[in-house]
């Protein structure tokens, strides 16, 4: 009896059941998957494209492509990682269309390590984000991340905003783990450098 219990296979997750039902043509099941991940896909798409209309189109096209290709989803990665890969490709394609003059690729490695070396070492005020209203803060953060190369901001948003692991980010972007780590370090350092001017401690600030 004990041996039988040890051989019990884990029941499929709710998500696996939804994916299987959607693959069998159940649109309601697919709608549940859309509801589960649409906010994430929209955020990723807008971070990459930096354009609201493009982000809207990316969400629609990514989910439609996912639905059309559910038969090819092997279940070896999570459904979300597979969906993110589709969404990132759609977003980069739209960015290329909008900026045909610029090379836009997830493989781009446009700058040397030197460009990410800290230039300004300034301590920040305590809770620096509280110096600004929500709207001002969103404006600052949006403008700042917009200045990063697409490949850096894509890695940053997947890893640090969406919370994918380094391995999941590598899988979604079809990059190696060292390549993800290198881009992530440089993205984080470049954002930090650019935020200095907004958040650094002023002369009148009291010490914590």
């Amino acid at each position: 009896m004990e041996a039988i219990e040890n051989n019990v296979v884990e029941p499929p997750s709710e998500e696996t059941l939804l994916v299987e039902a959607a693959r069998a043509g159940d649109i309601k099941a697919f709608e549940s998957l859309v509801r589960r991940y649409d906010r994430n896909v929209f955020r990723i798409a807008q971070h990459i494209t930096q354009n609201r209309e493009d982000a809207e189109d990316v969400v629609q096209d990514a989910f439609l492509k996912a639905y059309q290709n559910l038969g090819q989803f092997q279940g070896q990665s999570k459904f979300y990682t597979w969906l993110v890969r589709i969404a990132v490709n759609e977003a980069l394609m739209r960015l290329r269309r909008r900026r045909p003059e610029r090379m836009v690729s997830i493989d781009e490695d446009v700058k040397t390590e030197e460009d990410s070396m800290p230039r300004e070492i300034a301590d920040w005020s305590p809770n620096p984000e509280q110096q600004y209203t929500q709207a001002e803060l969103k404006d600052i953060l949006g403008k700042t991340i917009q200045g990063l190369p697409p490949s850096f901001r894509t890695v940053f948003v997947l890893r640090d905003v969406e919370g994918l692991s380094t391995e999941e980010t590598a899988s979604a972007l079809e990059l190696s783990v060292p390549a993800v780590k290198s881009r992530l370090l440089r993205a984080r350092l470049q954002l930090r450098e650019r935020l200095n001017k907004y958040f650094k401690r002023r002369d009148g600030d009291s010490r914590p």
Partner: protein, 97 residues
């Protein structure tokens, strides 16, 4: 440890994905290097501020519109496939086999 060595390890340090020996060496460096201490803290704040910012939220109205467009397109695709099934699954073909 030099500051450039510290920077190379910064991502693993912030993500807490390193062995205890390397972590101890980095923390020893942070004890006396004010510049690396500041860079480490402000980089950590950068990540936290972006993570908590709720930048690019999907408004409810837009969400409803996007949902309905996605589901309509999926239904069209489903109907297309039902009307024109792939050749390998065609009942007519099966019947001839």
């Amino acid at each position: 440890m030099k500051c450039s060595d510290f920077l190379k390890e910064l991502t693993d340090y912030l993500d807490n994905t390193m062995d205890t020996q390397t972590k101890a060496e980095l923390e020893e460096h942070l004890q006396w290097c004010h510049n690396c201490y500041v860079v480490c803290n402000t980089t950590k704040s950068t990540i936290e501020i972006y993570r908590d910012s709720r930048l690019y939220e999907l408004p409810d109205e837009l969400r409803t519109r996007i949902h309905s467009a996605i589901i309509t397109k999926c239904e069209c695709h489903k109907n297309d496939v039902a009307a024109n099934p792939p050749a390998t699954e065609s009942p007519a073909k099966k019947a001839t086999e």
